[in-house]
């Protein structure tokens, strides 16, 4: 029992040390922690200070710890299945550090992603009445969100492709919609739901979470592949969750939040139910792996708890939708 407790305390301390060091909120204390590491190193080196990156410091900190190995002074005796913990922890810290981007970082990530998209598609100019119209809807939705401020103004891009019925978004508030999707939706309220779903992805930081999850999966695979062959259980479950279940969860969250944003902005959230039903028929569930099975009920629940939007208002908005999108 005592032995178990000692192991447990050691594991908890390791977790705490790593978690505290990784926490952005505590980044200043991490600085102090790392400074003290530097000072210790400087002391050992006769007062010479060495400037090193935080990741390098962490690698140094854990560099000598190798599970399943007996470490004696000046001699390392490796046993089978040992891993370089310092290197692995360093990778984790690198991955973590790179996903803390702030408003400017998100914007540059979105710009990079958008550059890839624009390499494949022709677009409508920003001065086009359709772009201005869609942009007004996005700005109205954003004003209802918890993400009212961006590093630069949100960018709405209409992709010239009638064969694709799609909309997507990137961090930093880059929102894309295809002309195929503009043809597919029947009125402004339906269009607003499609855009609200994308704004929700941005607001909830799903893009960066997806990258982070992917990195987490890769790192876990590295660790498992190199050091823990045949390990199932914990790792298998974790990877299964990250690789298969996560995406559907995020889509469900974006549907729910999108419906909320549409309703908060003044749109009829029920329009989302209609557009999802038609999309599911149209796409024949080809994206079923990434989307939840009960999308319509998620949106319907939000619509039922929101205040009723008079049909007259939906008609007013439909008229301008027809004028700008349909009558061209």
């Amino acid at each position: 029992m005592r032995q178990w407790r000692q192991k447990f305390v050691l594991q908890v301390l390791t977790s705490i040390a790593l978690s505290v060091a990784a926490t952005e909120v505590n980044a200043q204390s991490l600085g102090g922690f790392l400074d003290s590491l530097n000072n210790q190193k400087a002391g050992k080196n006769g007062g010479q200070s060495q400037e090193q990156s935080p990741t390098q410091n962490i690698k140094n900190l854990f560099g000598g710890i190798k599970p399943n190995s007996d470490t004696t002074e000046g001699q390392v005796k490796k046993s089978g299945g040992g891993i370089n913990l310092g290197k692995t922890v360093g990778k984790v810290f690198d991955a973590h550090h790179n996903t803390i981007l702030g408003p400017m970082g998100r914007y540059y990530l979105g710009r990079k992603l958008s550059a890839h998209v624009l390499g494949r598609y022709a677009t409508l100019p920003q001065s086009d009445s359709r772009t201005k119209y869609v942009r007004s809807i996005v700005l109205t939705l954003l004003s209802a969100s918890n993400y009212a401020g961006n590093h630069k103004e949100p960018l709405v891009i209409i992709l010239r492709d009638k064969s694709v019925i799609n909309a997507f978004s990137a961090p930093g508030n880059f929102v894309f919609i295809s002309t195929g999707m503009l043809d597919f939706v029947r009125n402004e309220d339906e269009l607003a739901f499609v855009l609200a779903h994308e704004v929700a992805h941005v607001e909830l930081d799903h893009g960066l979470n997806a990258v982070k999850s992917k990195q987490g999966t890769d790192l876990m695979k590295d660790v498992a592949g190199n050091a823990f062959p045949g390990l199932g259980g914990l790792l298998g479950n974790m990877m299964g969750y990250m690789e298969n279940g996560f995406s559907a969860d995020l889509e469900a969250e974006a549907d729910r939040r999108g419906a909320e944003l549409a309703a908060k902005a003044g749109y009829n959230a029920r329009a989302g139910v209609n557009v999802i039903r038609r999309l599911e028929k149209s796409h024949g569930h080809q994206h079923a792996k990434g989307y939840p099975k009960d999308r319509t009920s998620i949106v319907a629940r939000v619509a039922n708890s929101s205040s009723q939007v008079p049909e007259k208002l939906v008609q007013i908005r439909s008229r301008r939708f027809d004028e700008i999108i349909r009558n061209r």
Binding site: T14, L18, T88, H97, G105, S127, K132, D205
Partner: protein
């Protein structure tokens, strides 16, 4: 000196996963009353009320610092956030079980954030403010390095993976990604055009006609 450490494999993985997924509110940094925060947006204002539709009384400059006097429009973090109520409660349950103690309630401050911050002279959206530590990274060179590092792991495998890795950050993309060169010139041109086509009066008419936003 002898130094011997043995960690159970699952425990090691758990430790690493904790670093990756614990206490990291990616979208919403936790800010408190009394904190000194920095402006990380280019086009941001102090408003008379916590609403983008309220009167703008001051333009804030990138890098400017302010002291938080209040938190407005608090919201609960989504379940997908690493600091969500669900995640924190799960962690607390695990800790309590391992430490053989009673489960403690998770304080609401841990999983709620403010969408607007109050300052001495008005309000501004919280999503534009960062701590001093994060502000140090808010320059184009540093963020580009970080962004490039995000796809570097993918790029090591094969050429097309770079783009695939990038696409992971976008949701809702249909079909397979076709290979093409990134067009930064075009995206920068659209960003520039976008700034020219901002018209607050037209936007207000849009909301008023459609009974949206403050006119709903």
């Amino acid at each position: 000196m002898h130094f011997r450490v043995k960690l159970k494999k699952p425990a090691l993985l758990l430790s690493l996963s904790l670093v990756m997924f614990t206490n990291v509110a990616l979208g919403f940094e936790r800010l408190n009353v009394g904190d000194r925060v920095f402006v990380a947006c280019e086009n941001i204002f102090i408003h008379t009320k916590p609403s983008v539709f309220s009167e703008k009384i001051k333009t804030l400059k990138f890098g400017e610092s302010l002291n938080i006097t209040g938190l407005k429009k608090l919201f609960t973090l989504p379940a997908s956030d690493a600091s969500s109520k669900e995640t924190l409660e799960r962690e607390e349950e695990d800790s309590a079980e391992q430490e053989e103690r009673e489960i403690r309630p998770v304080p609401s401050e841990s999983y709620t954030r403010a969408s607007w911050l109050q300052f001495a002279n008005g309000y501004s959206p919280a999503s534009c403010f960062v701590t001093k530590q994060l502000m140090k990274t808010q320059n184009p060179e540093k963020v580009k390095q970080k962004v490039n590092a995000l796809s570097a792991r993918q790029a090591k495998r094969n050429f097309s993976e770079d783009e695939k890795g990038d696409m992971t950050a976008m949701r809702g993309v249909a079909g397979k990604a076709k290979g093409a060169q990134a067009n930064y010139e075009k995206v920068d041109k659209l960003i520039e055009e976008n700034q020219k086509n901002l018209d607050t009066e037209i936007f207000e008419v849009f909301r008023k006609e459609g009974r949206l936003g403050e006119f709903r």
